[in-house]
């Protein structure tokens, strides 16, 4: 009984953030910043508490899924789509990650936004940020807790919206606070790219509804095998359409282009939405639909390929970036590629494991990068020739440009250490969290899909390389700009969440250590992993120390260490001096240029798709709407007719008929009065005559009666 009581708490995960955002909307302008931040963080924190309770409830009841209906949403004839919550181990895992990391980021954002609104001179916008953050939490909760693809889609769309709102938070400026369309364009780009992915998702949903007759998870998964047997190709179509949605939301090839631009939003946004939570929605979708994907191995392979290619592709781009957040953005795309490849190969547990730990250390890295940026800004503001506060009139200073940084480990020690921890975790160095999760994925790839293994291994190499490059460039050597010389450490409200996340990055591996496989057992209740082709695995690949293969683990560790050594050779041994260019350019030559310009993807997309659309829109607006519809149709046809009609009404009808009537009446009156006036001629005799006439007439009447 207490279990069912606990599960009935699940609607709170949506309604608590909604309550938080409503409070901040209504009272936001009257509260002080601390209060706003506390309200938002408390809402998010309470969601985490509820998730913990739900998890406890699941543990206590044996891990079976619980369905908690809330309300009837759509009732049309026989079709009934209720709003029902699904509490099972997979959704609770997502809930915990989102709310846990989300709460830490909310707390961080209290301090970060406090400084950011002052740098951008708009303190009134503080409340709006937390409204949007809470809205995001609510939408993400709807996404992960829904019991049907339709509820998932509601959340899917909602987080897309929040992404738009938050990327374009400083909508009237660009990242360097100059008036510009840049931020709002980045927000639009994110929304539109997501929309294309949503289109794929909708196609999948429509197909599913057409053939399955329902969108509820339970019903769909129950009848999946039957449909696959009777109508081959349907499941393939559904899963491939879903893949389009995944490439949109989780930033894979070809729809990843929005994520680097999304760095225009404030850093907490980058951390929460574009590292830890929203982008993992695609991975969650595939994991949730495991029973569908398991029926179509060909589609699974395509998913895995897409993920692996994306991982390598974006890792190469990350090597050539010099904005601290852009490196991390491409790194996110790359790691998402890892996750997508994992779930594509059927290793759902590995994929979810990587999702969870990636949330920890990527959020940590982004938040630390934010701390670095704030430190640079503080240093810049303290420079002597800016003491008068006249702003950045001489030069435009980009606090995120790594070429301006250097030697920051002395000014910002805490940030330095947590950043190191995050980088090592990302690179997959033992015993940090990333090692365990990445290793599982690589193992599965090595055992079943060699091509994917090669791609992922290369990506892992590059990952370690560019993280090393970043650490050497930012924290070591001498400052390449005076702002870096004067950088200051961030306040506790920022550094404490960083330290918590660092701890999680260190210990996160404990979630699914070999032999223990806690997460694996936990998720087993919801996901049935692909049975490994045990018979075909031979040799060293077959060794399994409770799930860990020492050969693969060793190889991946070596690869990472070599990469870090190479990065030290290039950037650490002799750190970059002021104004000096990246030594990779000399090494790789034109290839470096390709990396730096991100393979010109945006330019190609613009030329091929975007400008065509703009041309079409221009044509429709100018020619069709203005020239034809407004000018010709309205003026020539409608206005002319109207003018003719009014003239017609005015002249012949109004003047001719109506005036004639009224004037005519007056005329008649005048003429008859003129005529009748003559009767009174003043002569008595004529009056007497008329008297006699009257008498005669009366007498005649009497006679004749």
């Amino acid at each position: 009984m207490e279990n069912s009581g606990l599960f009935s708490l699940v609607p709170l995960i949506v309604f608590l953030p909604v309550l938080g955002l409503l409070t901040n909307i209504i009272f936001g302008q009257k509260l002080n910043e601390k209060a706003i931040g506390i309200i938002a963080s408390t809402a998010s924190g309470l969601v985490f508490v509820v998730s913990l309770l739900l998890g406890y409830g699941l543990l206590a009841s044996g891990g079976h899924e619980q369905l908690v209906p809330l309300a009837d949403w759509i009732q049309i004839g026989n079709l009934s789509i209720p709003w029902q919550f699904r509490v099972d181990t997979l959704s609770v895992t997502m809930m915990l990650v989102v709310s846990g990391v989300g709460t830490l980021i909310h707390i961080y954002a209290i301090g970060y936004m406090h400084e950011d609104v002052r740098f951008k001179n708009d303190t009134k916008r503080y409340a709006r940020f937390f409204v949007f953050m809470n809205l995001f939490i609510a939408m993400m909760m709807i996404l992960v807790s829904g019991d049907s693809y339709l509820m998932l889609f509601v959340g899917w769309e909602g987080v897309g919206l929040c992404s738009f709102l938050l990327i374009g938070f400083w909508y009237e400026m660009d990242t360097l606070a100059r008036p510009s369309w840049a931020n709002s364009n980045a927000a639009k780009k994110a929304f539109i790219a997501n929309r294309i992915g949503d289109f794929g998702f909708l196609l999948a949903a429509f197909t599913m509804f057409w053939y399955f007759g329902s969108l509820q998870f339970g019903e769909v998964f129950a009848s999946a095998e039957a449909i696959a047997a009777s109508q081959p190709g349907v499941i393939m179509a559904i899963t491939l359409f879903m893949l389009i949605g995944v490439t949109g939301k989780s930033a894979q090839i070809p729809l990843f282009v929005w994520l680097p631009d999304a760095m225009a939003g404030p850093t907490p946004v980058s951390a929460l939405i574009h590292a830890a939570t929203m982008v993992t929605a695609g991975v969650y979708l595939v994991a949730r639909s495991w029973s569908l994907f398991n029926l179509v191995p060909e589609a699974q392979y395509i998913v895995a390929l897409v993920g692996a290619f994306t991982a390598l592709f974006s890792a190469t781009i990350a090597v050539g970036q010099y904005d601290i957040k852009k490196v991390l953005a491409y790194s996110t795309i790359s790691q998402l590629g890892f996750m997508v490849a994992a779930v594509g190969m059927g290793a759902y547990v590995a994929g979810m494991f990587h999702l969870v730990v990636h949330a920890f250390f990527k959020a940590l890295l982004f938040l630390s990068a934010g701390s670095v940026i704030l430190g640079m800004e503080r240093g810049h503001h303290h420079l002597p020739h800016h003491a008068s506060g006249d702003g950045h009139s001489e030069e435009v200073f980009d606090p995120g440009d790594m070429r301006n940084m250097g030697g920051l480990r002395k000014q910002m020690p805490v940030t330095f250490w947590v950043y190191m921890i995050g980088a090592l975790a990302l690179a997959g160095i033992f015993p940090f969290a990333g090692f365990w999760s990445k290793d599982e994925i690589l193992l599965d790839a090595a055992r079943n899909h060699t091509l994917i293994y090669i791609l992922l291994a290369l990506a892992a190499f590059l990952t370690a390389f560019y993280m090393g490059r970043q650490i050497w460039m930012v924290f070591f050597g001498k400052a390449r700009h005076e702002a870096a010389d004067h950088a200051e450490e961030s306040p506790k409200v920022i550094t404490v969440p960083l330290m918590v996340l660092a701890g999680l990055s260190i210990l996160g591996g404990a979630l699914n250590l070999p032999y223990l496989e806690n997460l694996g057992h936990w998720l087993e209740h919801s996901i049935e992993a692909v049975v490994e082709h045990g018979a075909e695995i031979q040799g060293y690949l077959a060794i399994s120390w409770g799930g860990l293969n020492p050969v693969v683990a060793l190889i991946s560790t070596l690869v990472a260490l070599v990469a870090i050594f190479l990065s030290w050779l290039l950037y650490g041994r002799r750190t970059l001096a002021k104004g000096e260019d990246d030594p990779l350019r000399k090494l790789l030559g034109p290839i470096y240029k390709v990396f730096e310009n991100k393979y010109w993807v945006d330019e190609i997309y613009n030329a091929v798709f975007v400008n065509r659309f703009v041309d079409l829109a221009g044509f429709l607006a100018e020619k069709v709407d203005w020239d034809f519809w407004h000018d010709w149709l309205h003026d020539s046809v409608i206005a002319r007719f109207f003018r003719w009609f009014t003239k017609f009404l005015a002249n012949p009808i109004d003047l001719g008929i109506i005036d004639a009537i009224s004037n005519g009446l007056a005329n008649i009156t005048q003429r008859s009065s003129n005529a009748l006036r003559k009767v009174q001629n003043g002569f008595v005799r004529s009056y007497a005559l008329s008297v006699l006439m009257g008498m005669v007439l009366i007498l005649g009447y009497l006679l004749l009666k």
């Binding site: 006036r677 009174q680 001629n681 003043g682 002569f683 008595v684 005799r685 007497a688 005559l689 006699l692």
Partner: protein
């Protein structure tokens, strides 16, 4: 004597006198002659009265004539006084001259 003149004759005479008097009122322009024509009309009416009184053997007709004559006398007195007064202002007894009320 035998008064065997039928009533009809008297009536005819009365009608003739009356209509002649009416004609005179309308035709003549002299105010006095108009007045005299009125007296003629009255006479015609009186004649009819008396004739009928004789016919029905009642005296009421004669009494009526009595009164008519009295009133006629009074009327003549006042009427002539009016004509004299008008003559004073207009210096003419032509009724056509008194048309200042024309509209």
């Amino acid at each position: 004597m035998e008064g065997t003149i039928p009533l009809t004759y008297y009536i005819i005479i009365s009608a003739i006198l009356f209509s002649m008097g009416a004609l005179g009122v309308l035709i003549r322009r002299n105010a006095l002659i108009i007045f005299m024509s009125i007296e003629l009309m009255l006479n015609g009416a009186n004649l009819a009265f008396v004739a009928f009184a004789r016919n029905y053997h009642v005296i009421t007709g004669q009494i009526f004539v009595f009164f008519v004559m009295t009133v006629a006398a009074a009327e003549v007195a006042v009427g002539l006084a009016l004509i004299v007064a008008i003559f004073r202002s207009k210096n003419s007894i032509d009724v056509d001259q008194m048309s200042s009320l024309k509209g």
